[in-house]
């Protein structure tokens, strides 16, 4: 297993545009979480999906949305991009709902640059 995979690896967008980031979890993992990591900061929680339902949401505006598909892969969508959305977007998967029982495994991230 290649572990958690994310695509694309890098992306450059213009202010006001829309972006879709993709994540494929480890085989057998049913939970996917998304994080935003701005340079010099720790990851900030955006969403968690488990069994295709949203199970947690961080303090992000409605421009951020996500979904999980029947094969447990996930998409993160960001509308009306702002310069401040430039960051590394991390995806993490786990067997069950993230918590003490289930360890989360991180992907390599997608580097988004908004100009």
């Amino acid at each position: 297993d290649a572990g958690v995979t994310q695509s694309p690896t890098h992306l450059i967008k213009t202010r006001g545009q829309h972006v879709t980031l993709r994540c494929s979890p480890i085989s057998g993992h049913k939970s996917v979480s998304w994080y935003q990591q701005v340079l010099g900061q720790g990851p900030q929680f955006i969403f968690q999906y488990y069994e295709k339902e949203e199970r947690g949401r961080g303090n992000f505006p409605d421009r951020f949305s996500a979904r999980q598909f029947p094969n447990y892969s996930s998409e993160l969508n960001v509308n009306a991009l702002l310069l401040g959305d430039s960051a590394l977007y991390l995806c993490a998967s786990s067997l069950g709902r993230t918590g003490m029982t289930y360890e989360q495994y991180f992907g390599p991230g997608t580097r988004l640059t908004v100009t």
Partner: protein, 107 residues
């Protein structure tokens, strides 16, 4: 509000010296705390969790509820310990990460 504070952005120690990476948290309930590590050109990965009370790669971390701290310690630092370390707290399904400490072990 839940907050995780790592006061040191950068920390350098000599090989063989003890190392302590500080983590303080603010949380009104019973915290569940973790340390994550990111080695150069690798993915973020779990190092240890407080509930396991385990030692991983020689690192230990003790939860001190009185001081609201979860410091990461190792008695003898090795060069391969050089990495970025993040303290994290979980509440429900949400993880809260600190800003991280970059550890450099000097040969």
């Amino acid at each position: 509000a839940q907050r995780v504070t790592q006061p040191e952005k950068l920390l350098s120690v000599f090989k063989g010296a003890p190392v302590e990476l500080k983590c303080n948290y603010s949380y009104s309930g019973s915290p569940e705390l973790f340390w994550y590590v990111q080695y150069s050109r690798q993915r973020l990965q779990l190092l240890l969790r407080h509930i396991s009370r385990e030692s991983i790669k020689g690192f230990t971390a003790d939860l001190n509820k009185g001081e609201t701290s979860f410091h990461l310690k190792k008695p003898f630092a090795q060069e391969e310990d050089s990495a970025m370390y993040y303290c994290a707290l979980i509440r429900g399904n949400q993880f809260y990460f600190g800003t991280g400490t970059s550890l450099t072990v000097i040969p």
